[in-house]
Symmetry: C2
Subunit: 442 residues, 2 copies
Amino acid sequence: MTKNIFIIGAGRSTPSLIKYLVDCSIEENFKLKIGDKDFSFLPSELSKHNRVKTIFFDVCDVSQRELEIEKSDLVISMLPAHLHLKVAKDCVKFQKPMVTASYVSQEIRDLHPEAIQKGVLLLNEIGLDPGLDHMSAMKVIDEIKAKGGIVKGFKSFCGGLVAPESDTNPWKYKFTWNPRNVVLAGQGVAKFVEEGEYKYISYHQLFKRTLSLRVLDYGTFEAYANRDSLSYRTIYQLEDIPTLFRGTLRRPGYSEAWDLFVQMGLTDDSYEMNVKGMTYNTFFTSFLNLEDRSIKECLKADFGTSDQVIEKIEWLGIFEDNNVELTQASPAQVLQNLLEEKWNLEIDDKDMIVMQHQFTYELQGEHHELHSSLVFIGVDQIQTAMAITVGLPLAIAAKLILKGQITAVGVHVPVTKEMYQPILAELESLGIRFIEEDILKV
Amino acid sequence: MTKNIFIIGAGRSTPSLIKYLVDCSIEENFKLKIGDKDFSFLPSELSKHNRVKTIFFDVCDVSQRELEIEKSDLVISMLPAHLHLKVAKDCVKFQKPMVTASYVSQEIRDLHPEAIQKGVLLLNEIGLDPGLDHMSAMKVIDEIKAKGGIVKGFKSFCGGLVAPESDTNPWKYKFTWNPRNVVLAGQGVAKFVEEGEYKYISYHQLFKRTLSLRVLDYGTFEAYANRDSLSYRTIYQLEDIPTLFRGTLRRPGYSEAWDLFVQMGLTDDSYEMNVKGMTYNTFFTSFLNLEDRSIKECLKADFGTSDQVIEKIEWLGIFEDNNVELTQASPAQVLQNLLEEKWNLEIDDKDMIVMQHQFTYELQGEHHELHSSLVFIGVDQIQTAMAITVGLPLAIAAKLILKGQITAVGVHVPVTKEMYQPILAELESLGIRFIEEDILKV
């Protein structure tokens, strides 16, 4: 019997998801309907495939939404996170499973009892991060627990970077995902636990307090703390773990340079400046107390800026008289505007996803350290590593739900063996594979 | 004929205001009615004076509010700023002049046409800062303009500090006003103009970029920038002035030490920590990456903290194991809790208000610099310098309005000669006197 999959959203992260489902559509007897207002990110071999139908879809049109959800067998929502709720409610109402890559909101969590009662699964956080991180971490945690070990420490790192062959600027970074999120990353406070003590890192310390790590044979990375590590104690059932830390990966040197922008206030998004007629040079110096000094002298004296950082910001063209070409904008928007010019992926560039979990655990009186690492490089500018690692877990989960191999009901994230085992196995067959290294410590 | 003054609010800043009006109540034939729920800040010789009546008053009780305002000849609102609007609307309705020491909100500004039509004056920003700063600055600005000079620069500084004889701790600071405002001071961004260029100082640079100045024979002070200097261009009719800066005064060394708290994130009020069972020592170290170092070693290495700053924070007891005695609190609340213990005014302490305006102007081709400075020391813990310098401008303005010597109608701040001239003259007779020094620059 034909299974109808309704995919809401056809943006940048959908081609890999759709390609996977198209590729298995004959064997599994899937038909795909994709609803959006813009299909420009979708390659024509997918949008014109005979098992694919694209429709103009407005999620806020209640009657269209209800009609399409009722006609489908499963819904994949690729909408911005705040729009999932409308879809989720209809999915519960019409008893259709829903799959998303977004963090579960409290409103969606509140649908749990009703979803159970209706026998419907709402599966969230099944992309890359959140998603693949949950599954790969829970696999190791369950294995350690199964052999009688006690997890004492868990540090987990993830980053969307450029592949080594595309690593061509002094920042060793290009935008492979939402630029605005990169510019605003880390605002607020980072919380974690270390040897049983709560630790807080304010935004203005965040990029100074990086950790260094090596991942497989891809060299050295640095990590700054994510905002919320604490909630993972509950999600991963590690309530009493003494050390739990999550961080974001960059190549060494990035954080020191980014920190200058943070210290100067260039990442502030809370007010607008009048930047009409400003150049990047005058924008930059409006945050400095230059007196009679050159910009470099001022940075070195007032911010302790190193030559490596000067090189990076000079490369951005900040000392040049190029026009900002905005009128009213927050400092963060001006900075983003500049970075979007400089950190764009070239047509031949490939991106790279790097993830590493570091566990410490005790087993029969001995201390172990286990690293589980993934590096995945994109195919091209459409099948990016980001799109593939977000899209494939979603697609595989959808397939397994429709085949009756995932049977949970209610609101879930993929932390149970029933989910992570078959999904990780299939991802591995597709080349998304974690390498585990277990070291006995003396 | 008796004039009935209705004063709403009997808090910490009212005794000086009320004393002035009581002292002239027989000569001017004033009767005072004071409405509040708590009169504990009011000395009994004032509350029991035969020209004073205190009533239990709830500003949100519409019928009581309307009744009392209608029966009065003038209303002085000492309410928190967000409550003035209700009073202002009734004052317009019943054609009663109103006086406040608060910044004019947009909602009150919007009453201007109606107030003019009803022939009512709503006079705001007539305390210390805002208030005395407006009047003393406008006097100089008008004088420079009157003799044909052009104002090229205006820097204005104000601080509430302790008198030299009460300056007994290494911070050279004690709370003489709302502690919460002191802890949160400067959050956001400071904007000003300097030699025709817009300048922005982010919160994390604010306490590093201080100016140094001397005021009369009271020694040296340092100033950090206030958030909004730009709006004063309009208020003072200095639209095209190349340099305009407003700052807050502290004694030298304060800002460098406070900056450590800012950099560590201890002034963050945006999230709550679980501080149950914490000592100030563990609270402090939860923001540090101690590793195997002592707190002092960590501060010196990671924050470049000087010995002078170490001395100041050590004096606060931050390295000791005293209990925080809170359960859930933001870092800023914990810090405030500690400072309220340490920076409290002793019974014999006196406070001190310091204000300085620095003008540069051109006159007949010559460059002048003019400083106008005020230092005012409080009498005791009730008649503080803060309460006197806030209360007397309010009280004098109220008297002059009732005597018909201030005749403006509409919504105003005291920047016109009609207002500032008689008020400054009377303040001078009461010992609140600006010293002017004009220097011809070569």
